[in-house]
Amino acid sequence: MYKQPSLSLLVVEDSNEDFEAFRRIVNEVGTMDLSIVRCHDGDDALEHLQQRQAVPQPPLPDVIVLDLNLPGTDGREVIAEVKQNDKLKTIPIVVLTTSSNPKDVEACYRFGANSYMLKSMDIRLFKASIQQFLDFWFKATVLPSSNQESRP
């Protein structure tokens, strides 16, 4: 019997290696039932979200993980678009990036990002931070249920 995954994650990441590493670690450390959708760039992500609004199925993601330095439409623009859209603004956006530039951190929060995380070079540290991310957003936090309404 097909079971609808209870939680979905949208990952916006242009680097294949980084996405692979992310997915591998999520699978390794994650204990929850989580479906991951990947978009390669900002335009791709916005388009994906637009479609999900119009069609009741499949549902919107519960959390968006966003890399900042994307080709084409920049990550910051994605945040701004999502947070200005009444239907989408409730989705938490977690920025996951290499940039420690304080200006970037400032800009993301200003546009409405919910969290800002650094990609660590050290695999152990990277694993630990993804573990914390999953525990926080999918265990400790109560997510808005509006995204789930369309689900049976």
């Binding site: 290696e17 420690s100 530039n101 200006k103």
Partner: protein
């Protein structure tokens, strides 16, 4: 024709000066200034003076010499009508003269018949004190000058005068022409300065006479009321200075019962002091013609003759006319010269602006052509102050003196004034008296009070600036036996006394020039600051671009590294058992190299941002900072190390985060590069009031100096500078725990950002000491 209001105004001034009842108590007035020379009630003997009522022509006063000149006694004339002396048509001429009828102008040709003898006179009529004054001078046959003669007389001199270019040339020509026409032995042009002192600026003389050119006279040589008279009466003649004054009878004007106002009288008897003065000079006859500029007395044409000399009224009129022409020429010439000055000034200003284009600082601009700036203030010395920096040009007192001078000048400025001048600095500021030779005059221009930017022009004592017009060490007419005053030589000496500790006065146009320069300077400074603002904006832009670039570069560099790092880790995780020990080791090396590469990129990013990020300065307890750093270091340091802090470290203003990073790097290095079994590291300081002889010479003048000392491996002399170069390592990566080679570079940058300096002293094999200061950061 002088307007009556002008005449009465000047007469009022003379009265005020000479009336003991209403004269203001002015200490600068001498007795000469008080002498009522306009009311001597006496004339010179070469003519007669009569006064009569205008209404019925009744004679009131006569000079006592009517008896000899006309042949009638005063008693025979008093109360008589003028018809007693003159025929009806001559009376018409006199009336016509009073109503300024063009047919009848001074001098009138009058004749008097007494006892069958006809005497001819030149007559001059004017009104004074409600009566009419008639002055008669006997006519010589040769005195006939008609209009055509007049034209002939003035044509040449006028065209000569008009041909001159400068004021100096004009004066020289005027002196020569007046002497040619009149035949006086000596003709001089005097010029008065603002203080009223005189100065012989041109001279034409008989070849055997000594020159007076270049002599100066104190203002007191010509009494004030005489100067007022000179504006009224443009020509004075003393045909023979050795004369007995002829009194008027009765002494007072019967209508006013006061002495007759003789301001406009041509025969007026002159002051005995003046006659004595002429006598001491060996002068028998003298004439002076006023030179006016804008109705003010600018100077005089002074004529001297060694024997008596009578000049006809007509010839005097020609001289007076020439005097007025010279005055007019003078006005245009000085305006031209002012204009030339303006042009000169403009070009100095233009040069200034031009020079500013390729100069970085105001000091550079001023240094570009200081002679020009000195010329602008007609000064011989120039000092520029900017904060504590002083630059001087030309002749100035020594450095220690001029650094104190500004302290004295600053409070001298009036509330919002930007200019302060004095022509007697030594009297105002006694400390400067010793430097009178170079600094008797001071013109100080305040450019910025806040930034203490001032420009000072200095002038020498006047006595040093006098140009002698000739080699006159001995003056004409001065014998050594007892002439103690009243001679040009004595005058000159007296004048020298009056100008002790004084410079030439600062003219209005010079002050204006300074003020204009100030506007120019401020314009230049503003332009510079605009440029600076643009540069700053540029710098900020490029800084923020650099910042972004550094982040982007580090991101782009790190991304593939992360890939290598992660995939190597995954390989070890997934296939470790298949790779064998050697394969695993290689992959671990790959992971370690990627990690090291990332460390390099991070420190490069950190270093590049260090130079741009603003420092956050707060009062910081250095002891606390070091304690925190040591706590962190001890956690990761298993082996025991002795940390020595001989005495508590001081508190000072610095960026706590950066300084903490600095100590971390220095202390970590001290631990890392140490192979002694017992390692010790000492942190201390030397304050400004302690013995600094032990410090490196470069830091002996700095503020508080900190040091971190170790008993480590030391650094060879030839590497002392290299250790600060980024990524420059002295050892193989594997030895001494290997760093990125950026630590000390960052330390040096932090010290420099604080305005300090870092110096290493090291004994190879025994240990090193890192000394650093943190600049003279103000306490926050």
């Amino acid at each position: 024709m002088t307007s009556s209001s002008f005449v009465s105004q000047i007469k009022q001034q003379i009265t005020t000066l000479t009336n003991p009842d209403i004269a203001p108590p002015d200490v600068s007035l001498t007795n000469c200034d008080r002498e009522p020379i306009h009311i001597p009630s006496a004339i010179q003997p070469h003519g007669v003076l009569l006064t009569f009522t205008e209404a019925d022509l009744t004679l009131l006063q006569v000079s006592r010499n009517v008896t000899t000149v006309i042949g009638l006694t005063p008693e025979q004339l008093w109360g008589q009508p003028l018809t007693h002396l003159f025929a009806a048509e001559q009376l018409e001429q006199i009336r016509g003269c009073l109503t300024a009828d063009f047919e009848h102008v001074n001098p009138l040709r009058l004749s008097v018949e007494v006892d069958g003898q006809t005497r001819s006179f030149g007559g001059i009529v004017h009104r004074a004190d409600t009566v009419v004054v008639l002055e008669l001078e006997p006519l010589q046959a040769s005195d006939e000058i008609d209009f055509f003669d007049f034209y002939r007389f003035v044509k040449t001199p006028i065209s000569q005068l008009q041909r001159t270019q400068t004021v100096a040339e004009l004066c020289h020509t005027a002196a020569a022409e007046i002497r040619r026409i009149t035949g006086f032995d000596r003709v001089m042009i005097y010029r008065f300065d603002q203080a009223g002192a005189g100065d012989v600026i041109a001279e034409d003389r008989r070849a055997d006479l000594k020159a007076f050119l270049g002599l100066h006279y104190p203002a007191t040589d010509i009494p004030q009321q005489a100067k007022h008279l000179y504006r009224l009466n443009l020509l004075r003649l003393i045909p023979d200075a050795v004369y007995e004054p002829v009194p008027l009878e009765p002494q007072n004007n019967p209508v006013t019962d006061a002495p007759l106002d003789m301001s406009l009288s041509v025969l007026r008897s002159v002051s005995s002091v003046h006659r004595e003065y002429l006598g001491n000079m060996g002068v028998r006859a003298s004439m002076s013609i006023s030179l006016l500029k804008n109705q003010q007395l600018w100077g005089l044409i002074a004529c001297h003759h060694c024997s008596p000399k009578l000049l006809s009224y007509e010839l005097r009129t020609i001289c007076e006319f020439l005097g007025q022409s010279i005055s007019l020429e003078l006005a245009t010439k000085s305006e031209t010269e002012d204009l030339d000055d303006q042009v000169r000034l403009q070009s100095i200003q233009a040069n200034f602006v031009k020079a500013s284009a390729h100069c970085q600082t105001l000091a550079d601009v001023l240094s570009h052509n200081p002679d020009n700036l000195m010329a602008l203030g007609r000064a011989s010395g120039l000092i520029f102050y900017e904060g504590d920096a002083i630059i001087s040009f030309g002749q100035t007192p020594p450095e220690p003196v001029i650094s104190k001078l500004l302290d004295w000048v600053e409070p001298q400025f009036e509330a919002d004034a930007v200019l302060y001048t004095t022509a007697s600095l030594g009297l105002r500021c006694p400390e400067m008296a010793d430097y009178r030779q170079v600094a008797s005059g001071l013109m100080a221009l305040r450019i910025s009070r806040v930034q203490k930017i001032y420009l000072l022009w200095l002038r020498p004592e006047v006595v040093q600036t006098v140009h002698w017009g000739g080699q006159q060490k001995q003056q004409e007419g001065v014998d050594a036996d007892g002439l103690t005053y009243l001679s040009p030589r004595k005058s000159f000496e007296r004048w020298q006394e009056t100008v002790q500790m004084r410079s030439l006065p600062w003219k209005a146009c010079e002050q204006e020039a300074a003020l204009e320069l100030r506007s120019t300077i401020i314009g230049v400074v503003l332009q510079k600051s605009d440029e600076l603002a643009l540069l700053n904006a540029d710098l900020e832009r490029s800084n923020s671009e650099l910042d972004s670039f550094a982040y982007v570069a580090s991101h782009d560099l790190k991304e593939p590294l992360r890939g290598i790092h992660n995939y190597s880790s995954f390989l070890i995780e997934d296939y470790g058992d298949q790779l064998g020990e050697e394969g695993q080791h290689k992959l671990e090396t790959l992971v370690r190299l990627a990690q090291r590469m990332e460390d390099l990129i991070s420190s490069l990013l950190h270093y590049s941002r260090l130079g741009r990020a603003e420092l956050v300065l707060h009062r910081t307890d250095m002891g606390e900072v070091v304690t925190e750093v040591l706590d962190v270091i001890k956690i990761s340091q298993p082996e025991p190390i002795e940390f020595r802090i001989p005495r508590p470290l001081p508190t000072l203003a610095c960026d706590r985060i950066r300084i903490s990073e600095l100590f971390t790097n220095l202390i970590s290095n001290a631990i890392k590069y140490n192979d002694k079994p017992h390692k010790w590291i000492e942190m201390g300081y030397v304050s400004t009031d302690e013995d600094r002889a032990t410090l490196p010479s470069a830091l002996q003048q700095a503020g508080t100096v900190f040091y971190v000392r170790d008993n480590g491996i030391g650094i060879r002399d030839r590497h002392l500078e290299n250790v600060f170069k980024i990524f420059k390592r002295l050892h193989a990566p594997g030895r001494y725990g290997g760093g990125t080679g950026a630590g000390l570079t960052i330390v040096k940058k932090i010290v420099e950002r604080h305005g300090g300096e870092i110096i290493i002293e090291s004994a190879y094999g025994e240990g090193s000491t890192f000394y650093f200061s943190l600049g003279e950061v103000e306490h926050v």
